[in-house]
Amino acid sequence: MANDSKFTNQKFKLVGTRVMRPDGVDKVTGRARYGADASAPGQLVGAILRSPHAHATIRKIDTQKAEKLKGVKAVITSADLPDFTGGEGELYNVLENCMARGRALYDGHAVAAVAAVDAETARRALKLIKVDYKVLPHVTDVDLAIKPGAPVVQPGVKTKDKKAAPTNVANVTTYGHGDVEAGFGKADVIIEKSYKTEQVHQGYIEPHACLASVGPDGHGELWVTTQGPFAYRNWCATLLGMEMSQLKVTSSEIGGGFGGKTHVWIEPIALALSRKANRPVKLVMSREEVFRASGPTSPTSIDVRLGATRDGRIVAADAAMRYGNGAFPGIWGEVGAMAAWACYDIENVRSVGYEVLLNRPKVAAYRAPSAPMAAFAVESTVTLMAEALGMDPVEFRLKNAAREGTRASYGPTYGPIGIVPTLEAVKKHPHMRARLGKNQGRGVACGFWFNFGGQTCADLIIDVDGTVGLSVGTVDVGGARASLSLIAAEELGIPYEEVRCNIADTASLGHNDMTDGSRGTFSSGMATIFAARDAIEQLRVRAAKAWGIDVKNVSWKDGKAIAKGKRKSLTLKEIAEASPNTGGPISGHSQVVADGAGVSFASHICDVEVDPETGGTKVVRYTVVQDAGKAVHPDYVEGQFQGGAAQGIGWALNEEYVYGKDGRLQNPGFLDYRIPVCSDLPFIDTQILEIPNPNHPYGIRGVGETSIVPPLAAIANAVSDAAGVRMTHVPMSPPRVLAAIKASRAEKAPTG
């Protein structure tokens, strides 16, 4: 029972309530310490010189003048970062991405760095570094990159045949089952459509920032904004040739990550500067650097073909999905191919993912990475098919939705899943019956994400006053401290306010995987349950000792140890107070591989109003329906639903990396890269469904990512409905919508 992860349908007293968030006061009063808020005696300021070219050979870097500038304490290039990775593979790519090694692969690629006594001196030093570039042809467009004769980004990359010529297609992977062409042969209606999505950034408000300190004894510390201090520790130590135990990484409060802080960018550079200068170094990215040189998500180009019979049954589905990976090979097209058709039960289905190299930054995860673009293409086509068949789009989706026992398009057979309940909830939702006004349209779309768990560790200490400290290693990106405190309080039977959850550094707790894959509350929740149960075992032992009875005659209920026969009891507080003389400190510990996260589904409804004169779009109503398994703290679950929808709205309508013909990013700032602000958004309504995950004691599923999957498609379906023309290119910015309306009018106008 103690460490059994199976769902038990436990009845809750605290879990599911909306208690006060523990980090709220610090965040609204400015006490919370983010990545740039740490300082150390004698600290230097770091700065990075970046390539102004999209693609170039670096013939020489002359740092002599910079080194001689007064106040400069260290200058580094790739020569100061020797290769400890073996010269290939993902870790080598990380190394080369952090600091160019003989070639610059995108506008913004780091080529050198300095540490100086102040920011002005550091900036002046950067200007004194002379880099001799040989500019090479570049490519930043996914479709152009795969054409014959396109500039090759990585000459060492071959698709499959190692004897073939280099290509920008780093990998091709196929998912699906059945006989797709035979399936299309049975179709009464076939829809074919091509879609494009532009590259977007996660847009976290807090830029990458860290304070690094490496001493002459080789011991180091890193204070950093990150989603994964243990992963950062492991990567940085490996890249710098340090022993992992010699580097302590402490995660700061995080001002948004959404996947962008699951990769290292400036941190190895800050550590290398500190090691060379023998002083602490603070390094903070400017917003421009964040856009140019951290990890946005993929631009894509996707072709979809869908076949259905007249009675509304999908009989074949096919997708070719080209995902820009930036300058280094990744798995983004493959993940898109896995997610593409996951909402549906299709006998003959195929999706092919292409990893396309571009002279753009190394792509990183962004909240359900790759799935929103896949859903945009698939869900737009699904709506087109419903229209072609004269069916209601929700009924069409329900008729074809995956269910328990459906073989997923990416392989396994589903257990209990929530796509049908979300669609049923959409069908019944008052939003679907609300009348639309002039120039308004409505769209619905579904979304899927895998979720995962991973290695997780938690410590729970019971202080002598009976209050509880909980230490976890998953960074709190969306309310985990409140949720985990609720779980600990629930298990122990004490008030929520008597538990304080802390995020441990890498020297204080065993390894924890990053907070990604919607795993924070799922995994650390499981570890917290087990740690609390471990502590309860200790509490029972102490009570038994006090009573002089066998521990097997002591049970635990409602925060009390109860002797068999209920003749006497001791509260947690009483046991804690006595603990110094009953065996010393009381604590619980748990280390677990939290697998069985359970897949997640959502269905969204969106109403928009399109101005036919300007092409501007306003989202006037938005509803998210999603399965949470169990909402531990409903406020935070709703916040995740709303946050994903808000980011999806920005992605759908405005956000876009704009590259010039010179291969340089034209809009690296929030003035020209427009994320939505409050006035752009309606109140986003939410409906939480709770279909328990059978592989978690509380039935919890991850909720952090799925909410960003349907918005591109839901909004595209709504805009297309309002504008009377199918939108196939995201973002649906005013010029793009206006052009589509004009083209549609021109097409419909009588000729002659």
């Binding site: 990998n171 998912y175 798995i331 995860a365 392989g411 257990g415 697998d595 592989n695 990512e705």
Partner: protein, 81 residues
Amino acid sequence: MPEVRLFGGLRDAVDGAESVRVEGATIRELLQSLGREYPRIRERIGQGIAVSIDGVIYRDNWDQPIPEGAEVGLLLRIAGG
């Protein structure tokens, strides 16, 4: 002897086969058997993979038993945001 279905790029490591049969009462034993029979898959296993058993996806819990007659699949270990 479980039948292991392979998805996506993992098929390249078993000469394009959609499924293979290898011994294994746990995920660890299964992966060891796969590595012995198909040496090219060892590199992919080292890079990180996931195993589905009756629809539940396991990434790191290699002690997980594989029940008789279970549906077993080998998958890409995905990244999250």
